[in-house]
Amino acid sequence: MFDPAILKMFGQGFLESLYMTLVSSALAYLLGLPLGIILVVTDKDGIKPAPGLNRVLGVIINLLRSVPFLILAVTLIPVTRFITGTSLGPTATIVPLVIGAAPFIARMVESSLKEVDKGVIEAAQSMGASPFEVICKVMLPEARPSLILGAAISVTTILGYSAMTGFMGGGGLGDIAIRYGYHRYQTDIMLVTVVILVIIVQVFQEIGIRLARLGDKRK
């Protein structure tokens, strides 16, 4: 059905998508994880309340989250050019992906950490743990299963975002789907890219669920 050139294109698209998704996820967590922690810690019921900072951060995150990703990516083109020298291709796409996903991840991390039993945090404080120790030794380890599940959701969301950037020449499977499927009406090629995307999402989600279950000592 497909000639070798097309197959090679699929292979490359797959690798590009994977590359964008994984690198962006890692970088977005570098930003989003601390942000999520700060949101929980500075909450009015948190271990180091700072209502002002909490509110400012919350507003910034909500603002970024409410901008549709494609519009954010277009708006960020100058920034992307400044950092990577181009606005095209997978590496350039990492810039808007990280900025678009970090606030989302911050909220995911926030909700995971808020699940941690307040009593356990109080117990650690009663033993003389500092806020930093409470974060590292209690909140993050106790929330681990939930954080892993959240990571699976985040990674698949980022994969979806990365496919959207196909509209602006972002590379990867989304790019192929749009160029061949949308502009050239080659529905078969579009279908194959969609199937590959579905499989990747399934695999990431399954890995996340298994890792979370494996590390969870509550059952």
């Binding site: 404080q125 033993m127 509550r218």
Partner: protein
């Protein structure tokens, strides 16, 4: 007052919470001395402020006014770092155990040692020692979710003991446990107090817990300390309404039964093994109605009380009370108690 020196001094302590609905006075002008080596109970109905009070003892809640001295150190004068340090010498156990669910039993007991900066090897050796003490050596590798409530509380006790604390605070530590498990946990606390000389402060709403283990008790009622004293004094002669409510939890029902003269007989350990009521009835050939009876074993002595309805005949009633007094019992006529 007990002969020892006071380990915990609470002075003029008040706590106000700021809520959306305005200010909420939880504690007002609390003054209390807890002696070294004693088991001290703080009892009150829910909402009386006792959980807040215990959190003020290690400054998990900072008092709005007044202060707490632990071992003559004024907690309100300590820096944050010094406060973390002193908390290591104050163990705490909770109603919901509050164990780390993702750590096994051994690592849970190691946790406070990690915070205190003890080396891993030493910490684990100490943790095994403590698990031995609480009788859970075989559960070292188990996770909290695999333990029963009583076992979880034992782990929490081992954890509270890890840094050789001067005092252990128990916040409703047995309220989530069934009566048999409660007995076991209380026996363990008593044993720890006896063997290691650690002061224990028990917060509870159950009189039975106080009777079982405490030497002295403070009754806290709507933000204030209503009464402080030795458990058997308060139990035999409650002077405040708050104390009476706790000593006679079913008092209101008793009231309904009292139609004529009743008397309350207090057993103080000397004569509860003699069938004194039955003998009295045989002696006078007049029936009495037992309205309320509650006797139990406290600290090796039998304590308790029985409320009886006396015969209508006034003279017979007087004679019966005299009969009981002659047998070393405290007898008082009750008209409208509780």
């Amino acid at each position: 007052m007990s002969a020892g020196t006071s380990l915990i001094k609470i002075r003029g302590l008040s706590k106000v919470f700021k809520t959306d609905a305005g200010e909420l006075n939880v504690l007002e002008d609390i003054n209390l001395d807890i002696m070294e080596g004693e088991i001290f109970g703080i009892i009150g109905m829910s909402g009386a402020g006792k959980s807040t009070l215990v959190r003020c003892l290690n400054f998990l809640e900072k008092p709005t006014k007044g202060t707490v001295y632990i071992d003559n150190q004024d907690l309100s004068c300590l820096s944050q770092k010094e406060l973390y340090k002193i908390r290591q010498s104050i163990g705490m156990i909770f109603q919901q155990f509050n164990l780390l669910m993702q750590r096994n039993v051994l690592k849970n007991v190691c946790f406070p040692l990690e915070i205190a900066g003890v080396k891993k090897k030493e910490a684990e050796a100490r943790a095994y020692e403590l698990l031995e003490l609480v009788g859970l050596s075989d559960k070292a590798k188990a996770y909290p979710s695999q333990l029963s409530g009583g076992q979880k509380q034992r782990v929490a006790i081992a954890r509270a003991l890890a840094n050789n604390p001067k005092v252990i605070l128990c916040d409703e530590a047995t309220s989530a446990l069934d009566p048999a498990t409660t007995k076991g946990v209380l026996a363990l606390l008593k044993d720890i107090n006896k063997r290691l000389g650690i002061t224990i402060v028990i917060i509870t709403h159950e009189m039975s817990v106080v009777e079982e283990v405490c030497q002295r008790v403070a009754i806290i009622d709507s933000r204030h300390i209503a009464e402080v004293g030795y458990v058997h004094d308060i139990f035999t002669k409650p002077t405040t309404d708050a104390a009476r409510r706790l000593v006679f939890p079913e008092g209101e029902r008793v009231e309904n039964f009292i139609s004529s003269r009743c008397c309350r007989i207090v057993f103080n350990g000397s004569s509860s093994f003699e069938p004194v009521i039955a003998n009295m009835v045989l002696e006078f050939r007049q029936p009495v109605n037992i309205i309320f009876a509650d006797t139990r074993n406290i600290d090796g002595k039998a304590f308790g009380q029985i409320v009886i309805q006396l015969p209508e005949d006034k003279l017979a009633g007087e004679k019966m009370m005299a009969y009981l007094r002659n047998r070393g019992l405290t007898v008082e006529e009750v008209k409208d108690f509780v």
